[in-house]
């Protein structure tokens, strides 16, 4: 379980990548990851390509992020979900609030 962030070369996209398990154990580090967003950041990508597990606490954390960032970014994208995680997001109607790709 780990979390890493990286900015794109032009500084417009912040990618938060989560490996392994996405649950409340990441509460602090996840909040930290988007706490000090650069002024140039237009988009945040939550990259779940290496995320095997998530539960409702992860959903809560994502909603919290959405609430905190508000309109300061143009889009929050949840990217590269494995099929079962995508289904969890769909069941929870996250496709209404996030761009799921």
């Amino acid at each position: 379980m780990s979390l890493s962030t990286s900015a794109s070369s032009d500084g417009k996209t912040l990618t938060i990548q989560i490996r392994g398990k996405f649950d409340f154990n990441l509460v602090q580090s996840f909040r930290q990851a988007y706490a000090e967003l650069g002024a140039t950041t237009e988009k945040v990508v939550i990259d779940l390509r290496e995320t095997d597990y998530m539960d409702s606490s992860a959903l809560g954390m994502l909603l919290n992020m959405k609430k905190t960032l508000g309109d300061s970014v143009s889009a929050i994208q949840i990217a590269n979900c494995r099929p079962q995680l995508k289904k969890i997001l769909q069941i929870s109607r996250f496709d209404k609030k996030f761009e799921i790709d």
């Binding site: 794109s8 390509r49 539960d55 409702s56 809560g60 990217a79 590269n80 995680l85 969890i88 929870s92």
Partner: protein, 548 residues
Amino acid sequence: MRILVVDDQPLNCTLLRAMLEQQRYDVVVAANGKEAIDIVEQQEIDIVLLDVMMPVMDGFEAAPIIKRLTGEVYLPIIFITALEDHASFEKCLAVGGDDFIHKPFDRVILSAKIKAHARTRKLSQESHAQKKILEYHANQVEREHEIVEHIFKNALNEQAAYPTHCDFHLSPASMFNGDMFLLARSPMGGLYCMLGDFTGHGLAAAVGALPASRVFYTMVNKGMSVSDIAHEMNSLLNNLLPGHMFCAATIFELNESGRSLSMWLGGLPDAYLIDSQGKIIKTIESQHMALGILDEDEFERNLIHLEVSSQMRLLVSTDGIIETENSDGDFFGDEKLKRLIASTSNISTQDIVNTVKHFAGSDEQQDDLSIAILNCLPLPSIKSSEVTYSQLPLSVSMSLNAHQIRTTDPVLELVDVLSKVEGLSAHRSNVFLLMSEAYNNAVDHGVLGLDSAIKDKEDGFFEFYSLRAEALSTLKDAMVILTVSYEPDNRRLVICICDSGNGFTHQREKEHCMVREHGRGLSLLQEIASSVCYNQAGNEVEMIYSLK
């Protein structure tokens, strides 16, 4: 040095033998052309002195046969002749003669001619020996190339083609000029491509491609990100290649929806994002040093992210295209390439390669024109393969005391154990979700008695988890029991979690359930599990998860 004297007159033979032996030559004698041929077939002869007029077979007939027998090494034939007319000389030359010596023999002239031809014979022998060595080495190299080609073909064989998405051109011998193009899809459906150009030519340039392709396929298979692949490949090549060798590369991923491109660009010429008409939407310059140069801590993993649509195409190439030179010494260059791209709609790599070859003007094989065009289209979804399930029933149960609840993360470990059962691994995310929800519910609300309503307050989410950590640190006298049974006949998992908390009363069950689960969690459980059932006391939940 052995000289063959061919003459039907014994006197001439004796005379020549005496003169030649005096000069320390080895002498063999034959009485006619036929005998001479027999001797040449059996012995190593260095010079032939051949009479013209002889019985059985004359010199004109014997000379071409002797020449044929000697193969590639020069065997001088010197005609012994009393004839003086030009026609005879010409005939001697026509049948393969190299020189003449007139009767009667002049010792000085004979000696000079023998020496001159002996020298030529020696040179010819030396060059023949060298040629043999060269041939041997050339064969060796060719064989090695064949082996490497074979290995490459097999190594790159898992490369499925995606003709609607990717059009690429690589020359058949590209690996020996260090060019490599890899293509693979990840389990999440993204299409990954890598165009690489190793420094150097020949085997040296090819060696790096093999391990690099392994890393690429393995990591794509695991669905790793482009930056992780670039990072791993850099470490590999940095350790593997000698200091002066590296690999300029562009690695990119088109995600399954075909709407987003992530690229790592290190050292290749500009890539172009173009529309279907060939208009350049964006020129994407290399951002980083080539792979295999920087140490791990210096390596930069930054990517370029592009939003793309189905009308867009990405063109990447190695420097072979723009560095192609024509007979006037002009390079093809970026400008010509850009004009070429814009000149027609939906240009193909073959169009580009043909134009570049035409520009170069020679028929010579241009073997380093490597180019790929990606069409940014949605990808067909990946079909999951048929899963087989274990026939053996399995039941796992653990009861955790307060200390264990405080210090362990049992759900993940339990899921890991269950994933080992054949067929269950494909369901691990769902199994995790069910157990994680139910276990956290048992701990948070059952054992710790926390109220989910806290989460609804401003910043309550974080407050909840800090309260939780606080309550957990002082937890005493508590127990949570997790039991999971795999029933192969019903093809389902029965998950049961009960806690030592107070539970709730039957009358308030329904309402309480909602509170305990805090809504979102419960609806998830009900969607994923085929049934969720609480006991009367409210401290035990049983969930059935169907594997069908």
